[in-house]
């Protein structure tokens, strides 16, 4: 059974309809990417899954219907959203930011274990665990956002532009880590990414979004070969 099933998903900002009926599904433990130009509705898709915008249609996660529920209830199904702009709590310490990720968990032993694991993935965060998070560099804050999501011990991670503002070598490092997390912990991932070739390299499936509709879908390898995708998003 699919981890996430989405049917006829529509999303609105006020009167403006942004998503015009999306149908897609995610495999348990797979990585899927959404490609598309600016304004196609990529970020809105992630926000819709978390109940952050007004939606119509069905979203079923792990067998339970989550569409229409409040954000704070949806994330209790262990869906971790790494938002656009990173969502850092700038006046809290790095460690407090990470601990907030585990806010809904009751297993304190598991939380400590996961904190250590996050520090293993991102040693920079351990060095700066007492520092005010707003003083971290952009790259460190991106790691913090991913780390905070991991603290939830998620079944699904929604990643919005994880490479945003990162130097190329940091971006590659981050994607290596994401790939490792996916393999080691079977965390499903839905990645929205400007850097299409990078996203397709770690993804198993991909969707191409244009003005709120899915126009192409398939495995990452098929999409890579697609003529329009290559011309418009991969640049060759």
């Amino acid at each position: 059974m699919a981890l996430l099933e989405v049917a006829k998903l529509e999303a609105f900002y006020g009167q403006t309809q942004v998503l015009r009926g999306l149908d897609f599904s995610l495999e348990e433990g797979g990585i899927t990417t959404i490609l598309g130009a600016n304004g196609a509705g990529k970020t809105t898709t992630l926000r819709a899954l978390c109940g952050m915008v007004r939606t119509r249609g069905d979203i079923v996660f792990g067998g339970s219907r989550i569409s229409g529920a409040a954000t704070e209830s949806i994330v209790r199904h262990r869906i971790a959203h790494v938002p656009e702009g990173r969502g850092t709590f700038v006046r809290l310490s790095t460690e407090e930011n990470l601990r907030l990720g585990a806010y809904t968990r009751k297993d304190s032993a598991g939380v400590e274990e996961d904190l250590e694991r996050v520090f293993q993935y991102f040693p920079r965060l351990k060095e700066r665990h007492r520092q005010q998070a707003g003083t971290l560099s952009g790259g460190e804050q991106q790691m913090l956002a991913v780390g905070r999501a991991l603290m939830m011990r998620p079944r699904l991670m929604l990643l919005d532009e994880p490479s945003f503002g990162l130097a190329p070598n940091l971006t590659e490092e981050l994607f290596d880590i994401l790939g490792a997390i996916n393999k080691e912990r079977q965390v499903g991932m839905l990645v929205v990414e400007q850097n299409a070739s990078l996203a397709l390299a770690i993804a198993s499936h991909a969707y191409l979004l244009e003005t709120g509709r899915i126009v192409i879908s398939g495995t990452a390898r098929e999409i890579e070969q697609d003529e329009t995708v290559r011309k418009a998003y991969l640049g060759y």
């Binding site: 952050m52 704070e72 938002p83 850092t88 709590f89 006046r91 809290l92 806010y103």
Partner: protein
């Protein structure tokens, strides 16, 4: 010298009370970006509840704790029932609701307990302790009680998961929801806590100014001054600001001849204006930079 020490200590006692009011105001300001103008009247109402409990024969410290608990629930309910419907609608709506609350609590207290001035007991003995002549025992007690309460609030925010969640919800509600924090309830909790802290201020100041429906008006003004001086964005700063205002106000009243007791309150206003003109972020606040 004796007068100076006496005045300073009396100032510290008032400072503790202002610090409580300042902290209550800052807690709600941080979560909503608005000053709760009804904070003083809520504290006054709490003190009347305590007064009723005492007339029923409940021992002082039980009354103290009960009044805090009742105020906590009351603050929570006020937020859930009255404030929540207008949250995030517009600044004007929210301010009007705050002012409406002020008027309601004031008239309600007058209606239930009438407007005559009532004495409120102090839990501390009248005789000076430690053989000194210049420090009133009530003043000393007030400083002690407010410090204990403020320290407890600090421990709560610094070391408990709920305290951390409340800070997170106040800073960034959208991110807080994404980690599963029920932001609306955190806001209500904040109102409850602020009301309980205000109740402490009311019960501590009532033996000095006597119990009547308008007793918190000037106290809240000094609380605002303290919050602004310390930095309305920094709870610890607001507490320091509250104590500072208390001491300054008392010393200014005692030593500056033309001010005296009558003009002391204008000192609070002058201070508020001075802070807003010369250092809007206060002594310990941070400057809010918005990227556009």
């Amino acid at each position: 010298m004796e007068l100076f020490l006496q005045q300073t200590f009396s100032g510290l006692a008032f400072g503790g009370i202002y610090a409580c009011m300042a902290l209550a105001v800052v807690m709600i300001y941080q979560a909503t970006d608005h000053l709760n103008f009804a904070q003083g009247e809520m504290a006054m109402f709490s003190t009347y509840v305590a007064y009723t409990l005492i007339t029923w024969g409940v021992p002082y410290w039980w009354t103290f704790l009960l009044a805090m608990a009742i105020s906590f629930v009351g603050g929570l309910l006020v937020e859930r029932i009255i404030v929540r419907p207008v949250e995030g609608t517009s600044v004007l709506n929210e301010v009007i609701v705050f002012i409406g609350l002020l008027a309601i609590f004031n008239s309600l207290a007058g209606w239930i307990w009438d407007y005559t001035i009532k004495p409120y007991p102090s839990p501390f003995p009248k005789e000076p302790i430690l053989g000194n002549k210049f420090v009133g025992t009530h003043d000393l007690g007030v400083v002690g009680v407010t410090l204990v309460v403020l320290f407890a609030v600090f421990l709560f925010f610094r070391f408990t998961p709920v305290g951390l969640a409340m800070r997170a919800a106040a800073q960034d509600p959208a991110s807080a929801r994404l980690v599963g924090i029920r932001v609306g309830w955190m806001l209500a909790l904040g109102w409850g806590l602020a009301a309980a802290i205000g109740a402490v201020a009311g019960m501590m100041v009532a033996p000095i100014v006597f119990l009547e429906p308008n007793m918190m008006g000037s106290i809240l003004l000094y609380g605002f001054a303290g919050a602004l001086l310390g930095g309305i964005t920094n709870p610890a700063g607001a507490v320091v600001g509250g104590f500072t205002v208390g001491v300054l106000e008392t010393l200014v009243g005692a030593y500056v001849p033309f001010i005296g007791n009558e003009l002391k309150l204008s000192f609070a206003l002058v201070l508020i204006i001075a802070v807003l003109v010369f250092r809007p972020s206060g002594l310990f606040g941070y400057v809010v930079v918005k990227r556009v």
